[in-house]
């Protein structure tokens, strides 16, 4: 008989850590699992007592209903509003950030004022914004939401991009200037390639923030540009909670975010800590 080799202490610790990691991951992912499963269940399975851990079979009728009734327009609206506003915020914000980083425009005060805009609670401004939008007839249109999300995300973009631009070695730009490029060319041909990864990451976060916003959308949409979080709350009510629709819509509204963030994994820490932690 061959003697089994006893695992080393280090090995045992590793096994324990894997078990711990597995349990923690299970705990945190269970709600997500449940959401996905409900979206595949039939009504009988959703309202089954005791709850079923798995649907009998994967079927897509809950999704089909969303497509048939046109509810998925909400996803499309969210895509348009979040996409366009992110693009604008990135362009305006990066330019502004460049000026702040390289010329120190406005000094520390301007930079501080900009980031303080980010800290203002939405609930405090949503009401005046509503009044203003009413005055200018901007309620329930793409334009209004896009402007709002652009403004909402600008401080973030400026703040983040300022950090990324500061990281670009000054000498590169200086030598480019010596070589006769003008500033616009320097920004486009020297700085931009250097900060491209940071730019991508910032875009993704900007998109996610706009995508997830509920409060502004709740107040400023009616029928034309209802975004997906608002659509979701339409399925709750005193009459009944339409779990099938809630689950299916949630999954549709969550998948793009999952994909985007997984792709941007490397920049996650810096992104969500407002640049304070460089992961």
């Amino acid at each position: 008989m061959r003697l089994m080799k006893l695992p080393t202490r280090k090995g045992r610790v590793l096994v324990l850590r894997y078990i711990g990691a597995g349990v923690v991951t299970l705990l945190f992912l269970f709600p997500v699992y449940w959401l996905f499963m409900i979206s595949f269940k039939t009504p009988d399975e959703i309202y089954h007592v005791p709850p079923l851990w798995m649907p009998g079979q994967i079927q897509f009728s809950n999704y089909y209903v969303l497509f048939k009734d046109g509810d998925v327009m909400a996803i499309l609206n969210s895509l348009i509003v979040a996409g366009v506003s992110s693009a604008i915020a990135i362009i305006l914000g990066t330019l502004c950030a460049y000026s702040l980083a390289r010329f120190g425009t406005g000094g520390e005060n301007l930079a501080m004022w900009i980031i303080s805009q980010r800290m203002i609670p939405p609930i405090a401004v949503v009401f005046p914004i509503f009044l203003i939008y009413v005055y200018f007839g901007l309620v329930d249109g793409y334009f209004g939401l896009i402007v709002l999300y652009t403004a909402f995300n600008l401080p973030y973009v400026i703040w983040m991009m300022r950090g990324y631009i500061v990281d670009v070695p000054l000498e590169l730009e200086e030598s480019a200037l010596v070589d006769g490029l003008n500033r616009w060319q320097v920004i486009w041909k020297v700085v931009f390639p250097m900060v491209r990864p940071g730019l991508m990451a910032t875009s993704v976060f900007t998109f996610v923030f706009a995508w997830n916003d509920f409060l502004f959308a709740l107040v400023l949409t009616r029928t034309e540009v209802i975004t997906f979080p608002v659509m979701l709350t339409h399925y709750f009510g005193g009459q009944s909670n339409f779990w099938a629709k809630i689950a299916a819509m949630s999954v549709l509204g969550t998948l793009p975010i999952f994909v985007a963030v997984t792709v941007m994994q490397r920049y996650l820490v810096r992104g969500i800590s407002l640049g304070a932690v460089k992961g």
Binding site: F130, Y133, D140, G237, Q239, S240
Partner: protein, 478 residues
């Protein structure tokens, strides 16, 4: 050929003018013909989210589009947000909504604010006066006008009914046992004491298979049951001279305590039940009595059970075993209800009007109240009398008669200036009741909130409105 007919009709309409609508044409046809000139446009209509919306989504919307070429966009809004959303749209001037479902007790506020379009001129132009007379008096006299002007067409015969399980109530063993214990016959309860007796009795005998009763308890619906009970037990909402709220009177306390105590013989978790939970329990035979709006009766009878749209409703296990009765004390709440109205900020007012006239007309509405999946309930005399409807299931005649009587005896929802705020206070109070807070504390707070609202509205203003409301035959039991 069709086109020629159309031209002909248009010509006739043009010739006869607006004053003399053809007597042989019904309101539905008039609306369709007149609406054809708006073909290609889209109108939006606010509808209660969920089941109610299946009517315009699956039936009336597509049919209207086929008839007139006007597309209908349904905006689903949860009940307790309907007022808010309509008001927000009006305030925002966006004009996103063309036609509206308006809860009658909020109609005065919306009309006063100018959010609703007065409909009289359209009613005359498109010959709708006669058909309005067919709407049952309870709705026509109370839910159609404000300040002498028509602001909405009552479109839903909402009233509370008591449903009970005939098979249990007629079971000889149960009857005997009940009589021996309480000294009176087991029958649909005439007052709340009886309901409590019966509920507890059945629960004691049959739980957990069957419980004595189950009611919906989550916001916003139970407040309508409170309004009914409170008044039937002798409660008054306000002192008519000072406009101080009297909801925290002994009557209020008694009703609150009873409502809370009743949960004990209801299935566990009833505090969380909404409309569909309660429905599911009754259809599955888990509860022997419930109080709700008329659709329960249709679904309990198994009407429409094969419908795709009703797939999510549990199959009725109690078809043929359900009796219909007036709620205890005999004056059921005309809870909620819906009017069809036109938004004052709509950019397509006439098209929107024609759509609601068509929806509300004798012909279309009779179809709509028979849709198996809809929540629209009979509200016209011609609905109650419809031979077709009365033949839908064996007990349909008894069902329609009970609805008709309930409507005639019904109590009106409280309707004051800024009613939305009083409703919110009531809804929150009842939610606190289930959470286990002391009933007296809740009622005192509710009375305080009522007073604060009244004060803000202006005591004299509100007093005048309250006096008019309280003088209506359906406001307080005589």
């Amino acid at each position: 050929m069709k086109f020629r007919t159309l031209l002909g009709v248009a010509a006739i309409l043009a010739l006869t003018g607006v004053s003399a609508p053809a007597a042989d044409k019904d309101a539905a046809d008039i609306a369709v013909e007149a609406a054809k000139k708006y073909a290609g446009t889209t109108i939006s209509i606010v509808w209660e989210a969920g089941l109610q919306s299946l009517d315009p989504l699956n039936y009336s919307g597509p049919k209207w589009e086929k008839l007139t070429g006007i597309k209908v966009k349904v905006v689903e809004v949860p009940t307790d947000q309907m007022f808010t959303k309509i008001m927000q749209d009006f305030k925002s001037g966006a004009g996103a909504y063309d036609a509206l479902n308006v809860i009658p007790s909020w109609m005065p506020d919306l009309a006063r604010a100018g959010a609703l379009e007065p409909l009289d001129k359209y009613v005359d132009k498109f010959g709708y006066r006669d058909e309005l007379q067919d709407i049952a008096a309870a709705y026509r006299d109370n839910q159609m006008q404000y300040d002498g002007k028509i602001f909405g067409f009552p479109d839903d015969g909402d009233v509370m009914l008591l449903y009970y399980r005939k098979d249990i109530f007629e079971d000889p063993k149960m009857k005997e046992g009940f009589k021996a214990k309480f000294g009176y016959e087991l029958a649909p309860p005439k007052d709340w004491k009886q309901l409590d007796d019966i509920g507890q009795f059945i629960t004691d005998k049959m739980a957990p298979k069957v419980y004595g009763a189950g009611f919906f308890r989550t916001a916003p619906y139970p407040q309508y049951m409170f309004q009914e009970r409170f008044r039937m037990e002798g409660g008054k909402f306000f002192n008519a001279d000072t406009m101080k709220s009297t909801v925290n009177s002994d009557v209020g306390l008694k009703v609150f305590k009873q409502m809370l105590a009743e949960n004990k013989f209801m299935p566990p978790g009833v505090e969380q039940w909404n409309f569909v939970d309660n429905l599911a329990a009754f259809l599955q035979g888990t509860t022997a009595m419930t109080i709700s709006w008329p659709p329960y009766g249709r679904w309990a009878a198994g009407y429409g059970s094969g419908e795709e749209a009703l797939k999510w409703v549990p199959k009725s296990q109690v078809a043929g075993k359900v009796g219909y009765a007036l709620t205890p004390l005999g004056r059921p709440e005309l809870g909620v209800g819906f009017d069809l109205s036109v938004s004052a900020t709509s950019k397509n007012k006439e098209a929107a009007y024609l759509f609601i006239q068509w929806l509300n007309s004798k012909k279309t509405s009779l179809e709509r109240v028979q849709l198996p999946y809809t929540l629209r309930d009979p509200f016209r005399l011609s609905h109650y009398a419809s031979e077709k409807y009365r033949a839908l299931w064996p007990d349909a005649p008894a069902y329609l008669d009970t609805i008709k009587t309930s409507g005639e005896k019904g109590l009106l929802d409280l309707s004051l200036l800024q009613q939305d705020k009083y409703d919110e206070a009531m809804t929150k109070a009842i939610s606190s009741l289930w959470a286990g807070e002391d009933p007296k504390t809740i009622l005192d707070r509710m009375a305080q909130q009522f007073d604060a609202i009244t004060e803000k509205v202006g005591i004299e203003n509100q007093k005048a409105v309250y006096k008019v409301w309280a003088a209506k035959p359906g406001a307080y039991p005589q």
